[in-house]
Each structure stands twice: as C-alpha cells, then as structure tokens.
Symmetry: C2
Subunit: 425 residues, 2 copies
Amino acid sequence: MNGRIRQPTSQPTQTGTAMSSAAELDARDPLASVRGAFSIPEGVIYLDGNSLGALPSSVVARIDRVIGTEWGERLIRSWNETDWYTLPLSVGDRIAPLLGAGAGEVVVGESTTVSLFRVVAAALGLRPGRSVIVTERENFPTDLYILEGLKSLRPEIEIRHAADGEDPATLLDGAALLLLTHVDYKTGRIRDMAKLSAAAHAAGALAIWDLSHSAGVLELDLPGSGADFAVGCGYKYLNGGPGAPSYTWVAPAHIATVNQPLSGWMGHSAPFAFSPDYVPAPGLRRFITGTPQVLSLAALDEAMKLWEGVSLRDVRAKSTAQTRRFIERVEEGCAGLGLTLVSPRDDAHRGGHVSFAHEHGYAIMQALIARGVIGDFRAPDILRFGFSPLYLSFAEIDRAVDVLAEILRTRSWDAPEFSTRRVVT
Amino acid sequence: MNGRIRQPTSQPTQTGTAMSSAAELDARDPLASVRGAFSIPEGVIYLDGNSLGALPSSVVARIDRVIGTEWGERLIRSWNETDWYTLPLSVGDRIAPLLGAGAGEVVVGESTTVSLFRVVAAALGLRPGRSVIVTERENFPTDLYILEGLKSLRPEIEIRHAADGEDPATLLDGAALLLLTHVDYKTGRIRDMAKLSAAAHAAGALAIWDLSHSAGVLELDLPGSGADFAVGCGYKYLNGGPGAPSYTWVAPAHIATVNQPLSGWMGHSAPFAFSPDYVPAPGLRRFITGTPQVLSLAALDEAMKLWEGVSLRDVRAKSTAQTRRFIERVEEGCAGLGLTLVSPRDDAHRGGHVSFAHEHGYAIMQALIARGVIGDFRAPDILRFGFSPLYLSFAEIDRAVDVLAEILRTRSWDAPEFSTRRVVT
C-alpha cells in the first residue's frame, strides 16, 4: 500500500486530442502533489470520494500508534497523556477553516444523524413558542427521518416540506427553523446559503445547514452566509474513514446560550466531578455527548492534516474544472446512448459530484466498477460520480469517460452479473 | 508488544505465605490461558479494566486490515463485500451471551449516553399517559444528565431520585420507567435486577438497566431477570478500546413494537431506497441511527472473539475470588493506615471492582500508578480497583497489595508530584 502518483496514461484513444489537454491540466494542477499522501489502489479510478473518501496513507501509522502504544501500553493513562480528551474540539479546529469558521466553533463526534438531532433540538430551544420546521422533500432522507424522530417527542412540531422545485423560502411564515442540505446528494445542486439563511432570519427563523456534500470541495463561509448551525460527515471529502464521526458548527453568537438535549457526561463543565446535576461546559464542549470513539476520531484527525497548506480556492477551481470536463466529455463521447444530465450545467450551481440518469443505471454502474471506474448508483436511475480534488487527475476523468462510452456503445452492461442488486450500495 | 504470560513473581515479601497460595490459585485458574491473547505492558499491574479494558493483541492486525485493505484497497466496495453493514448486529450477537440474551436482541453503536437516550425515550413511548422516571441520585451521572436532556424536550417528565440508601422501589407509584445501574460505578454494589424489575412491573413500569460495570464480569440473565431494556459500554470489561461503541439490548417482546426517536437512515427498513418517510426496520436494526464508526466497531468485534469458549461461571467465580482476596489482604496488610472499605463485603452483592476510601486517595492513587499499579480515583476520596478476570492473576493482586501497603506505611504518596490534580482522571 502506498500513495505514489500514477503517471497520466498516454495510450491513444478516441479522445486522444483531449488527453494531451488533460496531461497539460495535470501538469499545472497546484494540488497534484497532494495525491501522493493518499493510498489509491492500482487499476482504480475512484469517483466515489463523496461517499467514502480515499485513505490518507499516514492514517495507518497513526492508528497503529493509537492502538499499540496509547491503548496497549499506556492504557487508561492515555486519557491524561494524549489528545484523546481534547480531540473532539481539536479535530473541530482542523475542520473549521474548511467551513470559513474559527477556532472553538466546531466540535466532532457521534454520527451525522445524531449531530443533526442535537442541533435541530438545540435550535428549536432558541425559538420558544414556535414549532414549524421547513425542509425539502428531496433532502437527504436521514435529515427528514430525524425530524420525524424529534416530532415523536415534541408532537407540536409541524414539518413543512418544500416539494421538488418549490422554494422553501415561501414556506417560512411563522417558522422556527429552516433545515436544508447545501449540496444535494443526488444532483449536486448547490443551495444559496446566504439567500436562504437571510430568508429564514427575515421570518424570525434560524438556519441549519447539512454540509455533508459541501465541506472539502467548496469554499464555504458559514458566518458570512448567515448560517446558525451546521453539521456534516467526516467520511466523504474529509477522508476520515468508514463511518468517521461527524462535525457540528455553532454560530459564535449561540454557543454560550444554546442547550442540546443529548446532555452527556463529556459535555459537562466538570466531567470528572461526577456531579448529579448537568451543568453544560461553557464553550462548545457542551455539544459533546458521550465518550468519543477514539480510533475513528483519531483517523479523522490524521486525515485532516492533509488540508494544511491547501488553498480552498484551488480546491474549488479544480473541482469545477473537473466536473465541467466530465460533463462535456460524457455528452460528447456518449451522445445518443441514453444518458441525461441531472446535475446543474452552470458551474456556480454545481457541487463536487455529477449525476447522469440512465434507464439501466444500476447495471451500467456495476459494469463500470468491474472495469475499475468506481462511482455509485442512487435509485431509481442515477449514476453518480464524485470528484475529490485532493487526489483525482484530469487524465483519470478522461479515461473514466472512455470506459463509460465503451460500456454504453458495446452494451456490455447488459449481462446477468451486472443486473443482480446487492444489499447495500 | 505481545501477550505473553508473565510468570507469577516469587520473590519473598512480607506476605510470602499467601504468595504461594496465589501461585496455586493461578495454577488452577481455568482462565489463565486467556491472558496470552492480551497485550499487557511489562511492569504494570492493571486494575482499571473496568474503565478501559486492555488491548486484545489481535485487534492490531484486524484494524490494520480494515484500514489498509477494506478501506484503502476496496474503498466504497467494502460496504458490500465486508461486514461493515452487518457489524452493528453481528457484534451484538457476540455480546448477547454475556447478557444471557439471544441472537438478534443486541445492537451496537453510538456512545453509551446516546444509547441510553434512545432506550429511555423508546420505553417511555410504550407507557402512554405516564411520565414519571425513577432513578437514583447516586446513579452514574450521564444516566441522570440524559434524563434531564429528555425532560428538556418533554417537560411533562418527572424524575424521581432515590436518595443514597433509599429503595427506589418505594418511588414507583404511577411511574413509567425505572432506570438503574446494575453495578454501582463507585462502590461496586450489585442491584437486585430481578427484584427491582418485578417491582417496576408490579407498578406498571418498565425496567431499564445500565450494565456498563456488569457485562463481562457477572453472569447475567436479562430475560430471566425481567429487564425490558439495557445498555452498556464496549470499552470496559469488553475490551473494545477507547470510546468503543455501546450496546443496547431490547427484550424480544418489545422489539417489534418499540420506536426510538433517533430515527436515522441506517435504522430504516430500506436504507438505500432513500425514501423520504421513515419506516423502521422490522427487527432490532431500528435501533441503529447513523453510519457506524467502523474502525471502533471492528475493534470491538475483534475483542469480543476472546469470549468464545469462556465460561461466564468461571469468570464470575474468579472475579469473586479476586475481589475477596484483595479486600482481605488490604485489610490485613494496610490495617490502621486509613483505608475504609466502600464496597460490599458480601460476595453476592459485590461486582468486579473494589473501592476503598482514604482521605488522601488522590495522591495515593498517583503514587500507585507511579509504581505501575494502575487503578483510578473517583472524587471525593475513592481509590477504585477493577479486576478483569480474563487477564489478571492472583499473584498480581498480592503484589498490588504489597505496593499499596508500602506506599501507605512509608507515606511516599505525600510528595508534590502526586498531589497535583490532572484534568481528566
């Protein structure tokens, strides 16, 4: 396992002219060297970093140390001697710049769904007398499920769902909260955070943003966009590993006054005083619930080190160039083969992934994966391709399009081994 | 790092006669060989396995494989190809025998505090029209904090705290729930689960048990004891590593009907259908919330393999013998040196740890740790010693008592380096 950079392929293909252009783009890519810090398997073009980011090579040694030395040798003493206790906030501080946020504004721990529950319930507590939550029917399902869960405890909650295409701002009358996902998990469409947060505020509501498909691929400015709370995944563009813990951002104005209901001992102002009464920690530590899952948290900490010195402007510029190139080359190379672009064509409205619909999307994605081009499928018919600027080259994009075009032209997806549905993805 | 068994020390000490008895006990210990599966550092007598269990050696290779191969090489494909998706329930099935429970009754994930919130809220939903929760003032604080948190969402909740020494059964009139910790984290006192669960049922309430200090050191029979729900830590006697995810047991009679409010996509009946409406999975999978933290969960899975073939009767017998021996030898060797037993003297009422109070408890524990005898301190004055039967020898117990006696006799704890309080433990 290593992180060496594969040379851009130079074999002639039907798109030979553009290939040399890809080589040029790779040659002047300011992020090209970052790929060397990742372990990318040979023979794979990985277009699913928006679902599970690739492995930063240094995680292997870090976790070996956490397990062998910190746990195995130092045992319980590591809670005093190492960073275990401070990681939820120190990893948060590493994530903060990706959100345009400051130190002490981001905390890490538990799953994204649990973090969503905490912020929605906490934000609702800041709007006494109001109980309407506005969201979108097409939001990522877990965001909707957690609202249902909160409503099971607070039946007075009314959930208003904007239908597909409906402006959620039109539903904000009397609302307490607006809960939206910034970049749509299916289409990659970017919501206008500043405009929608302002609409929420104008209606007296607070704005909560799910950044799972945003952080690490867009330039974000949460305070400047008027957001009140945000959460997101650690395992997508942040490359924290399978099921990496989530992050929570709270606007500085709220930190000192907001309370969240998953009040656990690790969020207490004096966790080891073992007082029977809960007194929330003065800062954002109050958003910690239980003991952090240290192995997973340390992996995310290590992964976040790769962002040191990375310009988010470069990240966004490369991401935009890569998604645009992919769209253009697919529409050129696969014309008439049944693909329909689902993602926004306008760069400014498109996040880090691109989706195409195809009647036989599932089988086509299986055929792609069998050829080493890994994206994912989202029901009912969406082929989704994610582009992680930290480790993806332009040459790989061209090669992926060539493979896709060949699969469609030859109908090689139309084979029994590609149509059998698996349990999970 | 390795798991080799250290030879019982045979150097003459003031307690030389008893030492040979320890050697005899170790020679006929049916669990002696299990220690070889752990990495215990040289020079350490580890009496804090009830806070963070020691490292099962095989975890190192397992996590190296999870990171290097499953994540690094196979990437997103591992959600289909490996056990990532099934681990929450398969690890639960490994834990179930320790609880006297059956397959499909235990699920693993999130922190113990989050699991507590889920079961308390879920159980409350099974008692419509009731809103009293009975617990103890001396319960582990996070159990109390999470009730406060739930009350912040459901203000009709009334929390009744039994005072120290008061029988919580006397407070059950009209109650919805009884929430108790089975083995007290400070004293090691065992609550009578069958009797108190029966009292709860007689009052029309449900019984929820926190097993954090029970599972892995006691013989448990949750169904036979009338429990309705239970949760516990993965990082104590289960040796799952720092912050290992927690487990949740639900009585089979409740599984099909109970709903928990942290309804996330991983608990949906069809997580990858991405339906906007939450439909809980038919079995215990509905108690899963978000994506599991795979590295931490896999470590616990690996650690649980050590229990295969281990007799819980042997575990409990060894635990009882070890805690009794420790008490007797401390009271003999440290007589008149200021220690007061806090734990029950009766074997039947004492769990896997033993606590002594001492006016200078904090400094004494620091002095012990400096000598390689690792226990922990709990405010205001408790020296707490945990005995993990899977890896602790009788010879180590004798040696630990000798060190404690020497520290007390020489007052070597009375030094500046031992009195400075650390932040965490």
